[in-house]
Symmetry: C2
Subunit: 348 residues, 2 copies
């Protein structure tokens, strides 16, 4: 098939550091090429791919503080490049949320839009009411909840996948707990710290602090770091991630928001490291209590869960990941949706 | 003709206070309806029009501090409403800049885009290089300058117009100089103050201070206000504008940027008040030195020009405005462009 992949322009594909969406788009794109599809990736010019790269910008805009207006202009150009050449593709797969929705009805090429963000923001109600007929893909079933009453068109759910070979399995549990992600209130790093302290276990925090979260970090997190058990190691790259996660006794994921998909849970499981998480958003679709981790709500229950993770079989965590969250399984899911979108377009 | 007018959603059409683009869209829309066209105005729901109002939002977003993301979502919905129903129109006339450009090539209805903003921002080069074939309307010839090398498609220039009957002619010159607009560095209110002080004439400043300009105001303007000659009266509405401008000896317009069109010059001229301006942007297309005002570059030359304005015939200022800048003349210009766009579309 001739497939257009339309990536966000914030980060390169794959991203240099964090950037869940760009990572998933990269894995999907590379595997589609490997399977013989003719893929064009519309992304920033510093992206690296075996697909044809349609470079919209010279480089990703992320680190440019004055980039907001630029990013809007870039995305408008990107959508023009994609939809102005819609006939070159059998299917157009967008990852840029609602900016692309109005174009779906204006071209005859079938389109799919994977929704990567949260859907519980009030202003999105108007958006999705208007774009009810645009075919969407959710990244977890939980993600759909806020739109349940609107009757949008869900083509399917495709859970993210990761490449098993990128993560070395670590058979022995390490001494510390791991926290990996943005240091924002809804990720609850403060709860992770509290759980580690009460459990009497070291916690290593690998995280970036976004400009928007600096005030929160200074006020609510920094004062908690002055403890021999707690170590803040800053933002880490892909190369260090597997060692960081694989060396941990468990990943702490005490989120307090409906996270549509927690990619870091997959990264931990791929290393054999179980996950202790609060049951928000996609967590119940990923964590199977007693198999690859535990779900618990309160701090005391999380502390108790941490105490029990050593009883879990790390090899079982890895097998569960390979079976349910490999790139191959993700791409099977998308290929099926592409085929059915094309069949529907032919029938129309 | 069946005409779609696509207005920005920042302000209602017409705007409650300042908002040049929304004011022009309103005048254009009402006159087109008066001339028998079937006009649909895509605008905020608090707009007031004799056209069919397609309300995209309940109200304009301007005063909402958290509106940036909202505004993007609103505009995406607006463009879907317009271009998803393109067949309902003989011509689509957009006033929302580049966000609408990618849609022009995807519908068979002819489109026109009036460019209301400055074009000398570096990131716009990439935008206009890509959208070379989208038919644009400039609001002054000067506005086109930064794109001269790109070879975009200019359908024409249509100067803004205002309704003569909305402005009472004031035959006698008043005692003070007037400054009206945003208090931003490129409008040079500090130069206006300096000119007034050197001329020994009172200056009344009617202006809003945008959040983005607050630091500039506090630092560079506020300290200059402590002078018996200078009076800062804040933001004024339409009702007070004619009295404010008509009562002045001259409008001071000492801008230092390529302003694509200075609507306030027309408002002054409509009252019979001459304009003393720096020759930037559209100014030389509006001010005719010795007829309806003077152009001067430096502070001493501006002071000298102010001394000479009493020699100008205020009735001549008004006549010049009626002849060159009435709504009727503006709408003649747009009607001609609509007809030629439709003829081109039929021929294609």
């Amino acid at each position: 098939m001739r497939i257009a992949q339309v990536a966000p322009l914030y980060e390169a594909v794959p991203p240099k550091l964090y950037g869940g969406t760009e990572r998933v788009v990269s894995l999907l794109t590379e595997e589609l090429v490997r399977r013989g599809h003719e893929v064009t990736l519309f992304a920033s010019g510093d992206s690296v791919t075996t697909a044809r790269l349609a470079a919209v910008t010279e480089r990703a805009r992320r680190l440019d503080a004055t980039s907001r207006e630029l990013l809007a202009a870039d995305t408008v150009r990107q959508l023009d490049l994609v939809f102005g050449n819609a006939r070159d593709f059998d299917v157009i797969h967008c990852h840029v949320d609602y900016l692309a929705y109005p174009f779906s009805g204006l071209v005859s090429t079938p389109t799919l839009h994977t929704v990567h963000g949260r859907l519980d923001l009030p202003y999105l109600t108007l958006v999705y009411r208007q774009f009810k007929h645009v075919p969407l893909v959710s990244i977890s079933d939980a993600q759909r909840t806020p739109l349940a009453d609107i009757g949008v068109t869900w083509a399917g759910t495709v859970h993210h996948g990761l490449a098993p070979e990128r993560f070395t399995f670590s058979p022995t549990p390490g001494a510390y707990l791991a926290f990996l992600g943005r240091l924002s209130p809804e990720k609850q790093p403060d709860v992770a710290i509290e759980v580690a302290k009460r459990a009497g276990l070291p916690l290593r925090i690998a995280a970036k602090v976004d400009a928007a979260d600096q005030e929160y970090f200074d006020r609510a997190v920094a004062p908690l770091l002055d403890d021999p058990l707690i170590e803040f190691i800053g933002e880490i790259g892909d190369a260090d991630k597997a060692a960081f996660l694989g060396g941990a006794r468990a990943l702490l994921f005490p989120i307090d928001w409906p996270e549509p998909f927690g990619l870091v849970m997959l990264e931990a499981l791929a290393c054999g490291t179980p996950v202790v998480a609060r049951p928000c958003g996609s967590v119940p679709e990923i964590v199977r209590s007693g198999v690859n981790g535990f779900m618990a709500d309160s701090v005391p229950d999380l502390v108790e869960a941490v105490a029990r993770v050593d009883a879990l079989d790390r090899a079982q965590c890895r097998r569960d990941f390979e079976k349910r969250f490999s790139v191959a399984r993700m791409v099977d899911g998308y290929e099926a949706l592409y085929r059915s979108a094309c069949a529907q377009a032919r029938a129309a």
